[in-house]
Every structure is written in structure tokens, then in C-alpha cells.
């Protein structure tokens, strides 16, 4: 197996809030191999976007962090801002959720491209920069005639393709795509996903695809990490996880996906926990249909359920549960525990 291009080790990111620290990312370890697409799925508010920003070192002021984001042998979270800025673009790229507002409305598309190329490849002549930009745009199906136009002259799907071209024009080794299709309609969504899936073939770009749509994961990703309340609860090959999820949260999330064969709507009762004071032990136990008494008392160990596959759930290490604690969790007991 190739060495990972990016590896997160026990990454923790928190925001200071009045009530205490919001632990948006709480101990995540994840590897990204060259040319690999990893899907990061989970509900809104489980820390996916924070993780994605942490990966390129783009955290807001006031965010704290611990752990490592290793890229080419260095922890980028420890780099000086100037070094990190030089890496953003040519090494680490980002594609955002909302393409409509991500381009500067007063700058032409050409200005956007020439700006990044001038910053990161100052030796490039104007003409070469132009050619590079046009080539990147053509790759995304944007005709060169529209190079000198303003962002408002493009549709949402086109703007997202421009954003992708803008990220790819520097040929970064790692790209984080934060819900790149959420704001777009389904046809455009399919188009964007196809473009992203082609990335690994055309370049050797590793892609961290953040989404809450499991259909996209099955189609475009090699591996999947399922995130809940700041933790990766399960990770493994995309096919395995989308067909045979081993963590109850992944399973419930998958059941909630709406498709043409859906006959009734399924949802997970409750809401993701407050990340200032998350539930003790397993974060998912208050909503988990399989919760046992141990789940509210002890942190589950991470178990490799099959090659390349890990799951953080007591169901996979039943032999380690002390006697009597494998009984189903009483919901009344749970309510009492929460009040305490």
C-alpha cells in the first residue's frame, strides 16, 4: 500500500463559546492515499466542515487544535502562517459548498485565475498563465470565450465548475470538497460528481469529499469515514460500508437515504448532541437502537471488523463487555443519566 499523502492523527478542533469549548472535531485519525477519494459523511453539525477546514489549516480565529495533520512529513497545523499560505493552493486545495458566493463579484473569472497563478507560480508569464487557466476551464466544460466574464454571468453549476477549475489549476495533491453539490440541482450534481470522480484518473489528486449524501459516496468514493459528534465512528471501503454498515449510526444513516425505492421515510430519532457537553462514553448511545448499558458507561474500543475497516462500537467487541452490562439500555435510565 502506498504511503498516505495526508494523515490525521488524533485531530481535535474546538471553538471557544461562552458555555465552554465546542468540540467540533474530537479525536479523528484518518489517512488519505494519493489519488484516493475518501467520503466524509454525517449529519449537519457533526464536525465535517470543521475537519475539512482543519485539513487545509483554514480555521477561524479563536479555534483551538491538538493532534496532527501530517502532509509530506510535516504537521501543517504547526507551520508558520506564511508557509501554510504558500501551501494552500498548490498543495492543498478546497472546494466549497455554496458556489454562488465564493467568487469575488467584482473580479472577472480571468482575474481570479491570474491572481492565484501569479501568487503561486510567479515565474509564469501572463500568456502562460492565461493558457493554463483556459485549459483548466476547458477541462470543466467552460468555453474560453467566457474567460473575461464576471461571476454573476454564470449559473450555479458553472460557478462550481469554475471553483473546481480554480482549485485544480495549481494541481494540488489534496483537495477538500465541502458538500460541493448541496446547493445544486440533481443533474448538475451528477455532473460535478463525475468531474470529481475523474480527478483521480486525470491527476493524482487525493480528494476528501464531505457530504451528507450517501448516494454520492457509493458512486464516487473509494473509502468512507462516517462521522458523528466530532468522531469518526466507522471507516472502510465505500462499497462495504454502503452495503453492509457495521456501526449502528452508519446503518441508520443509510436507512434514512431517500431513493426511488423508498416506500416510507426513515429518520433517526433525536438530534446530534450538543458538542459542548456531549453524552458520556459512546456519543451515539442516546439515539442508538442497539444501545446496551455499557454504551453509556465506557468508551467503545475501535475494532478492525475486516481488512481496512474499523468501527467504534461495542457490538464488535461483545466478549469484552463486563457481565450484566450487555443488557439493552433502558430509556428511562437513560433520561435519568442525562439529567445527572
Amino acid at each position: 500500500m502506498a504511503d498516505p499523502v495526508l494523515s490525521l492523527r488524533d485531530l481535535r478542533i474546538w471553538y471557544g463559546a461562552e458555555r465552554g469549548a465546542v468540540r467540533a472535531v474530537d479525536g479523528v485519525s484518518l489517512d488519505l492515499l494519493p489519488g484516493e477519494t475518501v467520503g466524509l459523511v454525517g449529519e449537519s453539525g457533526c464536525g465535517k466542515s470543521t475537519l475539512g477546514r482543519g485539513v487545509i489549516g483554514l480555521l477561524p480565529a479563536g479555534a483551538g487544535h491538538a493532534g496532527e495533520v501530517n502532509y509530506k512529513g510535516q504537521n501543517i497545523l504547526e507551520l508558520k502562517p506564511k508557509r501554510l499560505r504558500a501551501m494552500r493552493g498548490p498543495e492543498l486545495g478546497m472546494i466549497f459548498q455554496e458556489p454562488m458566493t465564493r467568487l469575488n463579484p467584482l473580479m472577472k473569472i480571468s482575474d481570479h485565475f491570474e491572481e492565484v497563478l501569479k501568487i503561486h507560480e510567479p515565474k509564469l508569464s501572463r500568456k502562460e498563465a492565461r493558457n493554463r487557466a483556459m485549459e483548466a476551464l476547458r477541462g470543466m466544460g467552460i468555453p474560453p470565450t467566457r474567460y473575461k466574464q464576471y461571476p454573476h454571468e454564470f449559473s450555479g453549476g458553472m460557478r462550481q465548475r469554475i471553483m473546481i477549475a480554480l482549485a485544480l489549476v495549481l494541481r494540488p495533491a489534496v483537495v477538500v470538497a465541502d458538500e460541493p453539490t448541496t446547493a445544486l440541482d440533481v443533474l448538475v450534481e451528477a455532473q460535478i460528481i463525475r468531474i470529481l470522480a475523474d480527478l483521480r484518473r486525470n491527476f493524482d489528486t487525493a480528494l476528501l469529499l464531505i457530504t451528507h449524501n450517501l448516494g454520492i459516496v457509493a458512486e464516487a468514493c473509494d473509502r468512507v469515514a462516517v462521522m458523528y459528534a466530532g468522531r469518526v465512528v466507522e471507516q472502510g471501503p465505500a462499497y462495504d460500508i454502503t452495503t453492509k454498515p457495521s456501526h449502528p449510526y452508519s446503518r441508520e444513516l443509510l436507512r434514512s437515504t431517500i431513493s426511488l425505492s423508498t416506500t416510507e421515510l426513515h429518520s433517526i430519532p433525536g438530534a446530534p448532541p450538543d458538542l459542548v457537553s456531549p453524552p458520556p462514553a459512546c456519543r451515539f448511545h442516546p439515539r442508538c437502537p442497539d444501545a446496551m448499558q455499557i454504551c453509556a458507561q465506557q468508551w467503545p474500543t475501535t475494532v478492525a471488523t475486516s481488512p481496512g475497516r474499523r468501527s467504534e462500537c461495542w457490538l464488535h467487541s461483545k466478549d469484552q463487555i463486563p457481565k450484566g452490562l450487555d443488557a439493552p439500555l433502558e430509556r428511562e435510565a437513560l433520561a435519568a443519566a442525562e439529567e445527572a
Binding site: 504558500a86 501551501m87 469575488n104 482549485a167
Partner: protein
């Protein structure tokens, strides 16, 4: 449609929209002047002449005709830029504007320069370093500048810089010697002096200009600072700014290129509205500094109830504001491509 064509279309539509705007404006000015009872003649000479003679003079000026006739008469005059002759000193509004407009123009332009030169950078600093000590100082300064009336600020400035420190002249537009030697070319004293190569005179006028221009500039600067501050802050939190940072654009460039330019769009828009503030402030500033501009004349006519003079000058001020807002809209369209559609 080509880009130039769409800009031209926008400008033409904007100019066409000026016509109803000016019409409403003229109507309001006319009606306001007629709300008060009596006529300019009775207001000025009432009690001094027998009623029969007043009625006779009113008739001579046409004030005894029905209001609607006077209204159309006034509109027709306005279309031809004829605003009549003042009752008290028999000057045409046109000659007033020519004679005193230069002083007001000099003052307002200088004040605007002061407001922009100091207001924009201060607003940028405050927006960039929000919730810091410099920001707090700048904000208090901005509020004071906007809230303090020009006649008060002007008085303090006169006391400090003219009387106590004796650095600058306290009032008037120039020393008597400069006034006496100046020849009239453009009716703008500063330019006239420069044409004659009278640099001592130019320096003299600039010295006289500093206090009133700063006084009036402070008023407008307060608005600029707060506006730029809010917009820079907002732009810096904007999605495209985060996206630019994600592409490794330096913080300096993010502020100057991405945030500041976007923050200027609403500032330019509001500058049109500032024209009204500037002219209103000019009336007060001119009076405080005995500046021989249109504002001083307007107050003079107001005090002597010369309705024709007041009506003519207010109409002129209003037309200026309308015209400036047109210019501002065109500038805005040039800066922000989205405006044209």
C-alpha cells in the same frame, strides 16, 4: 448585447428617471413655499406699506393669480432654468449661483477631499482590526464627528486654531488684499488666483479654507468611517474572502483587493446621499465662517423672508443632489458589473 451597450442603456434609463424625480422635487419646493400664508411681498414689506400698495405689488409680480397658474408658470420657468429675481435685493438666481456658487463648490469639494482622505483609511483600519483599541477610538471619533453640529465644531476650531494658537484665519474666504487684487475669470476664487499666477493669494485662500473644510469634512467623514468599517468587516467575513484565503492569497491582498473594493460599493452608493448632507452642512459651515457661498445667501434670504430667493436656491441645491446621485449611479455601474442588469 455588448457590455458597452448595456452600460449605455443603463445610463439612459437612469437619466430618463431623473425627469419624474425633478418634477416631484420642484412640486414639493413650490408647495412648501406656498404653505405659509401671505406672499413674498407681504412677508417682506407687510406693515411698512399700506395694504393697497402691497396688493398692487403682488399683482405686479403675479402672486394674485390662482395657485395652479402660478405652479405651471413656475414649472415653465424651471424648465428654462429661470428662477426669477429676489424680492429683497433684485438679483436673479442665476447671477447668485454664478457669484456665490464658486465659494460653495470650493468648500464642499475640499470638505469631501478631507472626508475621503481621512475617512476611508480610518474606516479600513477600524474594519480590519475590529473590536480593538484603535477601532474603539476611531468609532468614537466617527460618532462625534457626525453628531457634533458644524457651527459648534466650527466655533471650537475658530477658538483654538484662530484665536488661541493664531495659526489660521478665523473667517472669510480670503484677506482683503487678496480680495481686492483678484480678477474674476471663473468666479471660483482659487482658480482665478491661480490663473493670474497669484500664488500668495492661492496660499491665502487655502489657509482660509482649512478650518471650514475640516469642519464640514468631519461631518461627512463620520458617515464614511462607519460605513467603510461595517462593510470591510462584512466583506472580510464573506464567502469569497474565505475562498481566496483557501487559495493562499495573502492577508494583505485579501484585505486590499477582495474586501476593500467590495466594501467600497455601498460607500459609493451612499456618497450620493452624502451630497445632501454636504450641502446642508455647507449652509451651517458657511454661516459660521462667514464664507461667501450660497449657504450664506440662503440664510440671508430666509431671514428676510425672500421666498423667491429661498425657492430658487433650494431648487438649485436639490437639482445638484439629483445630478450627483446620477453621477454616483453611473460610477457605481462602472465599479460593480452586477448593477448594469
Amino acid at each position: 448585447m455588448s457590455r458597452a451597450g448595456s452600460l449605455r442603456g443603463y445610463v439612459l434609463v437612469r437619466i430618463a428617471l431623473m425627469i419624474p424625480m425633478v418634477w416631484v422635487l420642484l412640486t414639493v419646493v413650490f408647495l412648501m413655499m406656498r404653505v405659509a400664508p401671505g406672499s413674498p411681498v407681504s412677508a417682506t414689506l407687510g406693515g411698512k406699506l399700506p395694504p393697497a400698495e402691497i396688493a398692487e405689488r403682488e399683482a405686479a409680480l403675479g402672486f394674485d393669480r390662482p395657485l395652479i397658474v402660478q405652479y405651471f408658470d413656475y414649472l415653465w420657468d424651471a424648465v428654462r432654468f429661470q428662477f426669477g429675481t429676489t424680492v429683497t435685493d433684485g438679483q436673479t438666481i442665476g447671477s447668485l449661483i454664478v457669484e456665490n456658487g464658486g465659494a460653495t463648490l470650493t468648500l464642499t469639494v475640499a470638505a469631501l477631499v478631507v472626508a475621503l482622505v481621512f475617512g476611508l483609511p480610518l474606516g479600513l483600519i477600524a474594519g480590519r482590526y475590529r473590536e480593538t483599541i484603535p477601532d474603539a477610538f476611531i468609532r468614537v471619533f466617527a460618532i462625534l464627528g457626525y453628531a457634533a453640529p458644524p457651527f459648534f465644531v466650527g466655533l471650537l476650531a475658530q477658538l483654538l486654531f484662530a484665536k488661541n494658537l493664531d495659526w489660521l484665519p478665523a473667517s472669510k474666504m480670503a484677506s482683503p488684499i487678496t480680495q481686492a487684487t483678484a480678477e474674476v475669470h471663473t468666479h471660483i476664487l482659487l482658480i482665478d488666483l491661480a490663473i493670474d499666477g497669484n500664488w500668495d493669494g492661492v496660499w491665502d485662500v487655502i489657509q482660509h479654507l482649512i478650518l471650514p473644510a475640516t469642519t464640514l469634512g468631519l461631518l461627512v467623514m463620520g458617515v464614511f468611517i462607519r460605513l467603510v468599517r461595517v462593510n470591510v468587516g462584512q466583506a472580510l467575513g464573506g464567502d469569497y474572502v474565505e475562498a481566496a484565503r483557501a487559495r493562499g492569497v495573502s492577508e494583505r491582498r485579501v484585505v486590499s483587493r477582495h474586501a476593500f473594493r467590495n466594501a467600497l460599493v455601498p460607500v459609493v452608493t451612499v456618497m450620493g446621499l452624502q451630497a445632501a448632507l454636504l450641502l446642508g452642512g455647507a449652509v451651517l459651515t458657511e454661516q459660521t465662517f462667514s464664507w461667501p457661498g450660497l449657504g450664506t445667501r440662503l440664510l440671508q434670504y430666509l431671514n428676510s423672508r425672500d421666498y423667491i430667493g429661498v425657492q430658487g436656491l433650494i431648487t438649485f441645491f436639490a437639482l445638484i443632489v439629483v445630478f450627483i446621485s446620477l453621477i454616483i449611479d453611473i460610477v457605481n455601474a462602472l465599479i460593480d458589473p452586477r448593477v448594469r442588469y
